[in-house]
């Protein structure tokens, strides 16, 4: 008797718990977008095996593949934002990582696995270096994160141009191409790698005290320091993680076409990352963060991009649309707007109370 009673209550608890999550509206929006696509073609969600290539093929697979780079930068951005910082340099770091790997593979010329591995390591290495610079400037020198990473955004794009001497650089290397275009058990490799990285990171942050330390720095740096947390090390490592993940995203997006376009790779990627983070319910004011929320945010952005093309809506308006969404969400998060809403609600309630006796 007891099991059938407890099962629905557990399900209800899960659902009601979900409704208390800050990212519930992101899930709703994601479902809405899918419904919009389904109205155009009822078979939108269908996944089939492509006869010619033997891979799974379908719109959902495309969305998963497109979401992988956004997921990477969004997760890094979440940690940075949780410390009350921001990382505007992710897009440029993507370009630098892509430029380094493409330039290296073009010059070494062998299409071997070893070349691809060295290219990946080089790209991640230089990304980590740029992240370390960001971290040192923010934590030790004490510069504002906004200014520091804005400078890095401009410098990084310039660095990418220097590395490739201003040219769009292509290379051929099958293992490297496989990262973005290959499949594991039918699933896109990029998505599998992204999920693995996020899982490791989430375990690191949530199974240890690291996540709490990051949040405490974001909530009150002074109190955190008094409680024995050393902010310098944590800040530097957070910026390094963000930059390395941006490097991974850069590898993903250049490997998909085996070309780095120095003026376009990772362009406005920081916008997508911030958007994914705020959609996921992490406050731009720092403190509590939600990795799950940011991942859902990244999926939402990828779905939005794909939906716009699928519905044949001119894609030139997309950036404006994203900007409007950010502004609305930031407004909803701002304490002043919230208190305004609360005041109105309480006034309505008190008004009702007054009318009832009369």
């Amino acid at each position: 008797m007891s099991t059938p009673v407890s099962r629905p209550s557990a399900a209800i608890r899960v659902i009601s718990g979900l409704f208390h999550q800050p990212y519930v509206w992101a899930i709703v929006a994601l479902l809405l977008l899918l419904v919009v696509n389904l109205t155009k073609n009822p078979a939108y969600l269908g996944v089939s095996v492509n006869a010619a290539t033997g891979n799974l093929s379908g719109n959902v697979i495309d969305i998963l593949r497109a979401s992988a780079p956004i997921m990477m930068i969004a997760v890094g951005m979440t940690l940075v934002i949780a410390t009350r910082g921001i990382d505007l340099s992710v897009g440029s770091v993507m370009a630098v990582a892509g430029a380094v790997s493409m330039e290296f593979m073009r010059n070494t010329g062998t299409g071997s696995f070893g070349t691809a591995a060295v290219a990946v390591l080089l790209a991640l290495g230089i990304s980590a270096l740029l992240g370390t610079l960001n971290g040192i400037l923010v934590s030790i020198v004490g510069l504002q994160p906004f200014i520091t990473t804005l400078v890095m955004m401009l410098a990084g794009r310039g660095l990418a141009k220097v590395i490739t001497s201003g040219q769009n650089t292509s290379a051929t290397n099958e293992p490297f191409r496989w990262i973005a275009n290959g499949t594991i058990l039918g699933f896109p490799v990029v998505f599998v790698i992204a999920v693995l990285i996020v899982a490791v990171l989430a375990a690191l942050v949530r199974r240890t005290a690291l996540g709490l330390m990051i949040e405490s720095i974001g909530i009150n740096p002074k109190a955190a320091r008094m409680a024995g947390i050393r902010p310098v090390g944590i800040l530097i490592s957070v910026y390094i993680v963000s930059a390395v993940l941006a490097g991974v995203a850069g590898i993903f997006s250049t490997a998909s076409v085996m070309t780095v376009e120095v003026a376009k790779t990772g362009m406005t990627a920081e916008m997508d990352a911030i958007l994914a983070v705020v959609i996921g319910g992490t406050s731009l004011a720092g403190g509590k963060f939600s990795l799950t929320g940011s991942i859902i945010g990244a999926l939402l952005i990828a779905t939005l991009d794909k939906t716009i093309v699928y519905m044949s809506i001119p894609s030139s308006a997309t950036p404006a649309f994203k900007a409007v969404v950010i502004v609305i969400i930031c407004l909803l998060q701002s304490p002043r707007v919230r208190s305004m809403f609360n005041r109105r609600r309480t006034r309505v309630i008190t008004a009702r109370k007054e009318t009832v006796p009369a």
Binding site: K40, N41, N50, A51, A52, T53, S57, G58, N59, D62, A66, L154, R157, K161, G166, Q167, N168, S170, N181, S253, T254, S256, V257, T259, E261, V262, A263, K264, T265, M267, D305, K306, V309, Y310, S312, P314, S315, S316
Partner: protein
């Protein structure tokens, strides 16, 4: 209240006056060195407001201009690429060239609109402006000396005529455009739409920002949205066409057989792809017109009449053989 507000108004006026005075002082001060520079040097100073890294075509074009306007040919070229295609950075460079008092300005505008004010300023300063490649909108020919460019309308019309021949029984096609608002994009659309046959059905047109990566992602979705029933792609530059070819291969179709891809520009990468059969038609948009630009600048400085529009001749490549033959001495 009244005296304080009057006092405030007075100080405001006084401040504005001082500011205006100092501005006048500044500009008269900066005029002098520029004028003396003109007397001393034999080199003709030319400011080049350029686009900067964008793709193979742009690199070839800007390199060609820089090579042509060399010291040996009697020019001192000041190259000012935009920061990531931002029009504001171009306008800033343009005005600083006017303030420097250069002899002539070459302009490749990233966006077609919004140039009236600075062009008028150049006119007041009697600096001839030569538009390279991209035009301005509205196209007021009194604002500039001349525009040198290949004929975008004609080039995309020739691409459309090839498509008409290839698909006498009709086909479905899509267009991959550059960023909206550019004169190139408008002209390439115009030439294509005017010349394309009625039995070719345009399914949709979408911007992929000249980018391979975006074009791949966009065309992958277009294929899905139309159930792979697309026989022709009109990509407005080589990079986007190459991206579309990748998407076609990814979908398990064969470019050239299942989907024919037309691109414009004719860079080396596109000709290699055409030779390999991944693209089907490449219309050249000739970037090498540095020598024409020198002629125009010299004529304008000598006070001669210059034609307001100069068309650079371009060719087309419609087969792998034509591409293979042209590849060895391709400069870009």
């Amino acid at each position: 209240m009244a005296p304080t507000s009057r006092f405030r108004a007075f100080t405001g006026l006084a401040l504005a006056g001082t500011l205006a005075f100092s501005l006048v002082a500044c500009s008269s001060g900066s005029d002098e060195p520029a004028a003396s520079g003109d007397d001393g040097g034999e080199l003709t100073t030319v400011g080049f407001v350029a686009v900067g890294p964008e793709g193979g075509w742009r690199t070839a074009n800007e390199q060609n201009i820089q090579d042509a306007f060399s010291k040996e040919n009697g020019f001192d070229l000041k190259y000012a690429p935009s920061s990531n295609g931002d029009q504001n950075s171009q306008i800033t460079a343009f005005t600083s060239f006017i303030d420097e008092g250069v002899d002539a300005i070459l302009l490749s505008a990233t966006e077609a609109t919004g140039w009236e004010d600075v062009l008028e300023r150049a006119q007041e300063a009697e600096i001839p402006v030569v538009l390279l490649d991209r035009g301005i909108e509205p196209n007021d020919e009194s604002l500039y000396t001349s525009r040198i460019a290949p004929d975008n309308v004609g080039i995309s019309a020739s691409a459309a005529e090839w498509a008409n021949e290839q698909f006498p029984d009709g086909a479905n096609y899509v267009v991959l455009e550059g960023p909206p608002g550019l004169s190139v994009v408008n002209d390439r659309n115009k030439g294509w739409d005017e010349a394309v046959a009625d039995n070719l059905t345009k399914l949709e047109s979408q911007s992929a920002n000249w980018s391979t990566e975006e074009a791949k992602s966009v065309f992958e979705t277009m294929l899905k949205a139309n159930g792979n029933d697309i026989q022709l792609v009109f990509a407005q530059n080589d990079e986007m066409g190459l991206g579309a070819a990748l998407a076609v291969e990814e979908a398990g179709l064969i470019p050239g057989t299942d989907v024919k891809i037309i691109t414009i520009d004719g860079t080396q990468a596109a000709l290699e792809a055409l030779a390999a059969g991944r693209l089907s038609f490449v219309a050249e948009y000739n970037p090498l017109f540095g020598d024409d630009a020198i002629e125009v600048v010299n004529a304008a400085l000598a006070g001669e009449d210059v034609e307001s529009s100069i068309v650079v001749p371009s060719t087309t490549f419609d087969s792998p053989e034509a591409a293979t033959a042209a590849l060895p001495d391709r400069q870009y």
